[in-house]
Symmetry: C2
Subunit: 165 residues, 2 copies
């Protein structure tokens, strides 16, 4: 692509700067997921289970379709994860009252305990990074992340923000 070295105020957009950003994103994502991944080692659960638990905790009563859209996987893929979580009594699936086709998802006590453990580890990692970088850096971080999202995904993200805030 070779944006060529433009002028001063755009100099941070050289290919080299962009490449560094790409690599930073790659490496940071590893650090970001390492804690929960490690906690789940040998439990029979993996990252997919963590994600499901996270969003069910975040928006209890959510139906499967909604969760599907958030996670961006096929329903079959999610179903396998959900099946084991339900069998292990981590998640409860209740038939919808208004529409009986729907299944609404809730964490059990056991599920909430596990989710809390994973969440704590990940939040701690995130908090330490935030502290190191400082509040202004955090604001910028969030701005760039939001700009990196696909526009459809950004809708899910904002819906969750509003629900959670």
């Amino acid at each position: 692509m070779s944006e060529g070295q433009v002028g001063d105020s755009l100099l941070f957009l050289t290919d080299e700067q962009l490449r560094q950003g790409i690599e930073a994103m790659f490496f940071a994502y590893r650090g970001f997921t390492a804690g929960p991944d490690h906690l789940l080692e040998g439990t029979g659960y993996g990252r997919a289970h963590h994600r499901a638990l996270h969003f069910i905790a975040r928006a209890p009563g959510m139906n499967v379709n909604r969760l599907l859209a958030i996670l961006g996987v096929t329903k079959q893929s999610l179903n396998r994860v959900l099946r084991t979580l339900i069998a292990d009594e981590m998640v409860e699936s209740r038939v919808g009252r208004a529409d009986k086709r729907e299944r609404h998802l809730y964490l059990t006590e056991k599920g909430a305990a596990l989710e809390g453990q994973l969440s704590d580890a990940q939040r701690k990692w995130m908090r330490d990074a935030y502290r190191k970088a400082g509040p202004d850096a955090v604001a910028g971080f969030r701005q760039v992340l939001e700009a990196l999202m696909d526009s459809d995904i950004r809708k899910s993200y904002n819906a969750l923000r509003e629900a959670g805030a």
Copy 2:
């Protein structure tokens, strides 16, 4: 971004703020990888191949062990990827001059062309996000990402930065 309330300098460390950061990271990573993933659809290659191509492009002549450490996978896993890339003449593996046990990796013209395509797509996505967020946000973004890395990984990251700059 609308950090909402805030005001005092520590409010950004509430659990809710941290959860939003975690979700933003998750969703942003998806947007970040979607371009190359889509380009590779139906080519027989996947994200693993992209990563290998990226780092070989970044530091040509790198040996297998070094690449292994950067990617954080086992040699068996990397080997499968590398085997197909070499068979398809995307990557060339040359016996080391000083130490003949080592294999040094280079992109062929064909490999460089493919890597360029993938890289262009990802840089374009990154550039657009950077433009939307602005230079100050980018600086903060990079600071937080660096703080999110595991310390071992940060060494690889910085080694690449020095090599590339």
